[in-house]
């Protein structure tokens, strides 16, 4: 079988630069342009795992930029080069920046065991690695060979007080200086036994950072004009002390060096996670929360971005060249399969309405309107289900109305807004087994603005498309029934993985199950009062303050709730929206990840939420669901 390109992690270093650029969605460059001064300031990029942080950083590395420029002559990839040009990263055929990419890892934390020397050694290791990564990046920018061509580089700077990096040195000398430091730290980290341990070099200042910000680089005696940009990835792996120190050093650097820092949301303090937006703009020029940025841009830009990702990946598959992804999945009910069932559903609803209070004279005009409705079988069935919801609502509002108060058609039209139709479609799918989770728009919504989530779902759909093509079933788009079945499997897989995603995994699972149960209960009330449905809960700002500010002095239950909420937000299982206003009060709304909405059979739009106090939320942590809220 052709290898499924959706399974390839595009940002992974194992993926070569050419493949990376061929699968890069140009719309993502828009994010690079968000900060006011992106190439001379400090920018933090944060997201849940799979949000696309590393992909953004990798785009700015020399190898990727070279490919983006060279592939720019190809119509299929031109958008990336154009977007980079607009962002001031490239200029026609040359890169104006060279990204120095430095990832962090959990092993840095072992340095904390060194006691008073730990910060010195940490500084030394970070400095050494900045120097090493800089040399690699500069050679890559000029397409030279590492380490053979190191001697052709010279770096000159004005050392800050206490710095040990030489004022002027060739690349090979710098490489040796930095390698020795790195070696000495590895010796320390790899130490076993009880013999006296080797000593590691420590530094009093973050030499590497100041050096990169200040150094003038020459290649064969010619000044290097393009500017470096420091790309620090995965800062969530640092210990609390290291994270605090490094953030402090980065924010204190008052030099025009572009620094992009990517980290998972989990790197943030729990209080900042539960209070998103508070820290933004305080110390840094810019903080970008990827999922939130995409959500704010709206369905259009997000949809275009995801479509680019899907199309570029699909075209990498054997035998799929020049075909786009979305035309390969159906957006419509197949008439031969569904019309009969939909008409039967319509008739069943009509009978139900007439047999109940809908048969009263008051609704005669509405019923006549529904009967006259033209359109597809699905549209007609949805119209009838919407009518039923409206009658329930009207009855609840006008208990004492008389039959002769006949409602006219304009009132029906005024009330049958899109959200009622959405709710009606959802009700219809639940009652009559019609697919609901399918098609381009809903697939985009199901991503919850997270690239990995979208790629995982699309990858499973694509697997079936590839299988069908291998079995020579022609180019028929993937049916909506199969789409829903596949997406349900993805949702189940994601759900089953929750206990393994975090140290609070089991508590998160219990909590989310109760959230889903509450949302189901509110969504499927007969009058659909929060149409199209409830997909989240909200806590008041006072309760949020209680959790984040005074949590340390609170009960174990309050701390456990704070932990669970913070972990769910960090992993994008709950999507926070700060300061929603309702009836004069301000709320922190926490929506379920859209894939969990599928799990619970909920709608995919935002807007429907119910307020909850802290106490019942704490109770949700401890009690498993008694009803089993899962869908299907």
């Amino acid at each position: 079988m052709a290898r499924n390109p959706f399974r390839v992690r595009a940002s992974a270093r194992a993926v070569p630069d050419d493949q990376f650029i061929k699968t890069f969605a140009a719309s993502a460059v828009e994010i690079l342009r968000d900060p006011a001064n992106p190439w001379e300031s400090l920018v933090f990029v944060r997201s849940a795992p799979g949000g696309g942080k590393t992909t953004l950083l990798r785009l700015l590395t020399p190898g990727a930029l070279k490919r983006a420029i060279s592939y720019g002559d190809d119509q299929r990839y031109r958008a990336t080069r154009d977007a980079l040009q607009d962002a001031g990263v490239v200029d026609e055929q040359r890169a104006l920046l060279w990204g120095v990419y430095l990832p962090f890892a959990i092993e840095y934390q072992t340095l904390d065991d060194l006691g008073p020397r730990s910060v010195d050694v940490f500084r030394a290791l970070v400095s050494a690695r900045i120097v090493l990564a800089t040399l690699k990046a500069l050679l890559a920018h000029f397409e030279l060979v590492h380490p053979e061509d190191l001697a052709r580089i010279t770096a000159t700077w004005t050392p800050v007080d206490g710095a040990q990096l030489p004022m002027s040195a060739r690349g090979d000398q710098l490489q040796e200086w930095a390698s020795n430091i790195e070696d000495s730290v590895f010796e320390l980290m790899d130490e076993l036994g009880t013999e006296p341990h080797p000593s590691a070099t420590g530094l009093m200042v973050l030499d590497g950072l100041h050096w990169l910000a200040d150094a003038k680089f020459d290649l064969d005696g010619q000044t290097v004009q393009p500017r470096p940009i420091l790309l620090l990835d995965d800062l969530q792996y640092l210990s609390s002390a290291q994270h605090t120190y490094l953030n402090g050093a980065l924010t204190a650097l008052r030099k025009p060096l572009g620094i992009w820092v990517a980290e998972r949301l989990e790197a943030m303090e729990e209080r900042d996670l539960i209070a998103p937006g508070v820290a933004e703009g305080r110390d840094y020029d810019s903080v970008i929360r990827l999922e939130e940025r995409w959500a704010k841009r709206g369905d259009g830009p997000l949809g275009r971005f995801l479509a680019q990702i899907a199309d570029l990946r699909a075209r990498q598959a054997d035998g799929f060249a020049d075909r786009d992804f979305f035309p390969a999945i159906s957006d419509e009910f197949e008439a031969a399969l569904w019309d009969q069932k939909l008409y039967a559903a319509r008739n069943a609803i009509e009978q139900r309405v007439l047999a109940g209070l809908g048969g009263r004279e008051r609704y005669a005009n509405w019923i006549a309107e529904a009967r006259a409705k033209l359109g597809s079988a699905k549209d007609v069935a949805v119209e009838w289900r919407a009518l039923e919801i409206l009658i329930v609502r009207d009855l609840a509002r006008n208990q004492k109305s008389f039959d002769f108060d006949q409602l006219d058609r304009s009132e029906l039209e005024a009330q049958t807004r899109s959200h009622i139709r959405d709710a009606a479609e959802l009700f219809l799918s639940r009652e009559f087994g019609m697919p609901y989770y399918y098609g381009r728009e809903r697939l985009a919504l199901l991503s919850s603005s997270n690239v990995d989530q979208f790629v995982e779902m699309s990858g499973d759909l694509f697997e079936e498309i590839l299988s069908a093509s291998l079995l020579r079933r022609g180019d028929r788009p993937l049916s909506i029934e199969r789409q829903e079945a596949i997406l349900k499997d993805v949702a189940k897989r994601r759900w089953d993985a929750i206990p393994r995603m975090s140290v609070h995994g089991h508590a998160m699972l219990r909590f989310l199950e109760r959230v889903g149960e509450m949302c189901q209960g509110e969504t499927f009330k007969l009058s659909a009062p929060y149409a199209p449905g409830v997909t989240g809960f909200a806590i008041s700002m006072a309760d949020r303050e209680f959790l984040v500010v005074e949590g340390d002095q609170r009960s174990d239950s309050a701390k456990a709730l704070r932990n669970v909420l913070a972990s769910c937000i960090a992993l994008n299982l709950l999507e926070p929206r700060l300061d929603a206003k309702n009836k004069g009060e301000r709320w922190l709304v926490l929506y379920l990840n859209r894939l969990l909405c599928l799990r619970f059979g909920l709608p995919l739009g935002y807007g429907g939420w119910r307020p909850r106090k802290i106490k019942p939320l704490m109770e949700w942590l401890g009690r498993a669901s008694t009803t089993g809220a899962a869908f299907g």
């Binding site: 399974r7 959990i106 930095a178 790899d190 076993l192 009880t194 792996y237 393994r500 995994g505």
Partner: protein, 364 residues
Amino acid sequence: MLWCDGEFGRRWREHLGTRSRDVLIIAGLGFDSRAVSVSQELVGCGGYGKRDLWLLCYDNGQQTTAGQRQTVANNAAEFQKLFAAPRTLTRLPIDMRTDRARSATCQNTKAAVSRPQELWTYDDVVVDVSALPRMISLMTLAQLLTIFDERKDAGQCAPNLHVVAAESAAEDFGTAQNSLDTDVTLLTGFSGRLDSEALQNPKVWVPILGEAQDIRLQRIFDRLQPDQICPVVPFPTRDPRRGDRIIESHQRILFDEFDVEPRNILYASEYNPFEAYREIFMTIDRYRDALVELGDCRVFVSPLSSKLLSVSGLLACYDHKCQKGGKFDVGIPYVEVTSYGPSNGNPHGERTLTSMWLTGEWEA
């Protein structure tokens, strides 16, 4: 030397019966139903000399179920009874998490077992890995091997070092819904210089496969970004279809996502951990030889299979670490369990007792 099944009791009785021997057992206190059984078996083998216990009391900071707490209490009582005076029981606490919920297993295990002056008072040190989390058992062994080798290098005698286990595939792979750490941890001493910015030589990954390891594989792959992957599959095995099932269940991740060459798959005997050791050691050796021209290589072995196959992987890495040269390095990346869900394994399933004598008198 390897003593399995029926040989286990007989050979230990012979070993302990030849002369008076002071024996230290290092075991774990957890909710594994096998925690005490090997100690009972060993103590039941008789012989003269001290019989003491270092009980590794690990804590991952997670809530446990009432059933799990009860099993721990039962195990603690059994250990207390078994090592009542004149025997001694020393509890060694190990915090597995920092206050930010990151792994501290390696550092704290290494510190807990680094008591050389006490170790030298014994003839035999027996590490029972049956109820120890993987990183604790491997860290204990790596540290003891190093301490013992340091002593031998100084021209002094070190105790015999044994590894024992009561293995049960049904129990080991029957636990569902465990929470895994989001981070990949490298065993202390075996970083493989993974994150080196100075090194650019090839990385070879040797995951020793067991059942249901998709998430671990994905996380370790993401972290390593290996240039070459050589999965190790247990074969021959007691259940002849086990190897096939393991490959089948990891088909998507191995072949679709990681692009593993089927010819790179290695087979390691489930019956004989020393044979598995040789297979892994030789594989690493071949890569070392082949990649000298590319600036050596870094090899990473992930112990994702049975406890004893994991020990085989550790031994292969340890021996290569001792013969380190050039830019070659060796690492052991793993993803720890952070909390255990309810077990759906069979606590009464068939168990195989195995004893590996790693270092000591037989080398003379």
